[in-house]
Symmetry: C2
């Protein structure tokens, strides 16, 4: 039973101590409030999905990062040893595993919509804040377990949702006191038109994949890669030149002249125009059009957006999303247009920590420490402590009698602002001392007046 | 990519639809509030632990129910095929798996305390509400994924904690409007003394294990099993007779006469007496002494308790816990006394559902539906909608223009109590109609007065 080494969490996974949980709850609380103000309802899905439901949805790289859960009992006898011998490790793993860990919240949501279609009213707006797991190599700021906060609205293709999403993101950042975020917008149809213009064929996914590397590798490398795949770089250059130093309206006009001849790009350009002409009253977020934004995932078909933290913090994207026309098609349900955004809780926490934006009151989670001199006195105090708790006060009763200094030391470590002290003499007087541990001020209060006392 | 069958959750795992999440949040919200009023702080641990940390902690049966996570990449090459061939399936599984899924919150908490001992101040009081996973055979009311709500206080052996735990459980049930719960208390040392009295040897675990079946199999079968293992049934009978129809104080006195000669049972009996003499002012919970309560888990060393739902609901225990002296010893940290209780969220949800104790207001998660007649009118309304949201109102804007009846139908399905309706003429008058969908009442309000209007 005894373990030889000091126990710890698995690599890439973390414990959250009280102050971590308080920070995370602060962020999720603000998100939840705004999600609900915009009419979204909460759902949750299981940590595990059927393995065959997840695999094949995230590309080859994604498939490799999905955690598979080992079958229990006799079922492991079905191990495909032939596959193991041939080095087909994925097939070997599949023979041992019927379930896999949630990799994101989007595929489970698509499954959810199809499974519960008869119980949902459309348009359906849901939010979901749950951990996901990826067998990524652990490194700074990248974890194998992290929390996504997803908001999706399905059953409507109205541009009003795009507008509300931008307002909602802005409201969240305002409540978090996080100013200086940038929300970049593009449209897959516009990008597709550009890709077609720059290529001989109609294959656009490679173009998106290369463009998606821009943030990481820079323009020179992106152009080299596009050239390698025989894309016409002159077109790219001319777009860059034409759009440089223009405001958004002019950029969209210029683009229309360049690619407007392409079918089905007129509507999308008009939509982008409409979006940008209705973006007044944002408080914390700058919204810009960025024709180079590609987004890695394949299911987007309309507007796409990505939110970056203020430049002084180097964590990259803290939220991203877009519109999709066929999220549920893979599960046999067609024509279900929707729009979604996913906020990264862990990265937002990092940003707020680096910018010191958490309110210090966050860490006060106990209002008063009751100093314990004897079990008898504590029992005498119980009814009064009960009243304080009924009133909503968070009361930490020091469990056993010990030195005052030691007890106040704990109050200090836990950021508890008040101590309630009652000795024998005070009990006889039916009074107690309430000490403000921040200022050192002391008041003598009758026990009967405790709940009437104004504490702060 | 297309799946042939309708997609669904894995067996034994559940989706939570909005009304499910609201019910669960209602319960967890009340628990969280009370946990914090009693001075507990939140922590979270990862869904996965190192496999060797979990195995061996829950008995053989528990080990079989732990979900193991398949190693990724090349690591599966280390499969112990010899073990597979010999039918040592557990060893085979272990060779493929370094991580396992959280099986309860107690072992991870013990690991947490040891790992973070330098960051924690003692006494440390934590709460933790997270899902756990068990490869149990799915059946009615038993799931492979369910949520535990654990509260533990370590670093103190004070009986004051027992008293606070009982008060806290009572406060939670009172807030949940759940009356009629019974909290049974026993003491492991008392039970050990009885076991020793009834047996030749000093081996007590078998005695506990048999007694633990009492709820399921009844007295006759328990006695048969005890006889089989050569326990002295006369002792058991005489205890039963002596304790029958007595109040708790008399029961404890009678027990003292019977087993008081046993070493180290005097203190425990005194503790129980102290506990019962301080249980005034409970509102929703009946507390009784039950010498037959054994609790399955081995780590308890002091008081043990178990809470049953009101008799008319047949779900068994909805919470249980006890005191332990050596929870962290297995991880190399000695003499860390503590006390813990675990509430079962899923069972409490079941009880409240069966007794119809959820407030109906719970299901109203949107305050007003904004009817959409045209995109232009919606854009005109945006600033007013923004004000309502700033005020805290939860506003669902119908995303695209459609028939009034269809839009109000959605409001009805989502239990939205109000509709905000504005047509062309009203826009010209700078007014709108606010309809109470519960009563049918309509009011015409100037847009500028919307946020001043008293809605309920």
């Amino acid at each position: 039973m005894r373990m030889s080494t000091k126990p710890n969490t698995p690599k890439g996974m973390r414990d959250f101590l009280p102050h971590d949980v308080m920070r995370r709850n602060h962020i999720m609380g603000i998100m939840k409030t705004q999600f609900e103000r915009f009419g979204f309802l909460p759902i949750e899905t299981p940590a595990m999905e059927r393995r065959e439901l997840l695999l094949g949805k995230y590309g080859d790289e994604g498939d490799r990062l999905v955690f598979k859960v080992l079958n229990t009992g006799e079922k492991v006898k079905k191990a495909d040893l032939e596959a193991l011998k041939n080095g087909e490790l994925s097939r070997f793993g599949n023979s041992l595993s019927d379930k896999a860990m949630r990799y994101d919240l989007t595929v489970p949501f698509a499954r959810f919509v199809v499974q519960h279609q008869n119980e949902l009213s459309l348009p359906f707006k849901r939010y979901q804040m749950q951990p996901v797991w990826r067998a990524d190599r652990p490194q700074h700021g990248r974890f194998q377990e992290f929390t996504q906060c997803d908001v999706d609205a399905i059953g409507s293709d109205s541009l009003l949702l795009e507008l509300e999403y931008i307002q909602m993101a802005d409201a969240i950042f305002e409540d978090l006191k996080l100013s200086g975020c940038t929300l970049r917008i593009n449209h897959r149809k516009v990008l597709e038109a550009i890709a077609r213009l720059a290529s001989a064929g109609t294959e656009t996914t490679r173009f998106f994949a290369i463009l998606d590397k821009l943030d990481k590798v820079g323009w020179d490398e992106v152009k080299r890669l596009l050239l390698d795949e025989e894309y016409n770089i002159d077109i790219i250059d001319s777009i860059q030149n034409v759009l440089a130093d223009k405001n958004t309206a002019d950029q969209l006009d210029a683009l229309k002249k360049l690619i407007g001849s392409s079918t089905d790009v007129e509507g999308p350009l008009q939509d982008l125009g409409l979006l940008f002409s209705n973006l007044e009253q944002l408080n914390s977020t700058k919204v810009i059009f960025d024709w180079t934004l590609a987004r890695g995932l394949n299911y987007y078909t309309g507007t796409i957006f990505e939110i970056s933290a203020p430049k002084q913090v180097s964590v990259g994207s803290i939220g991203a999303g877009g519109r999709y026309d066929n999220l549920t098609e893979v599960f046999g349900m067609k024509d279900m247009s929707g729009i979604g955004i996913s906020f990264g809780l862990d990265r937002i926490e990092l940003v707020l920590s680096e910018l010191d934006l958490f309110p210090s009151s966050l860490y006060t989670s106990v209002d008063v420490l009751v100093v314990n001199f004897s079990m008898e006195l504590m029992k005498a105090l119980f009814p009064y402590i009960g009243e304080l708790r009924k009133q909503g006060k968070r009361v930490f009763v020091y469990p056993s009698p010990s030195k005052l200094k030691k007890q106040l030391g704990l109050a200090n470590q836990l950021h508890i602002p008040h101590a309630l002290i009652m000795g024998e003499q005070e009990w006889k007087d039916q009074s107690c001392t309430l000490k403000d541990l921040r200022t050192g001020e002391q008041s003598t209060i009758l026990l009967g007046d405790l709940t009437k006392y104004s504490w702060f």
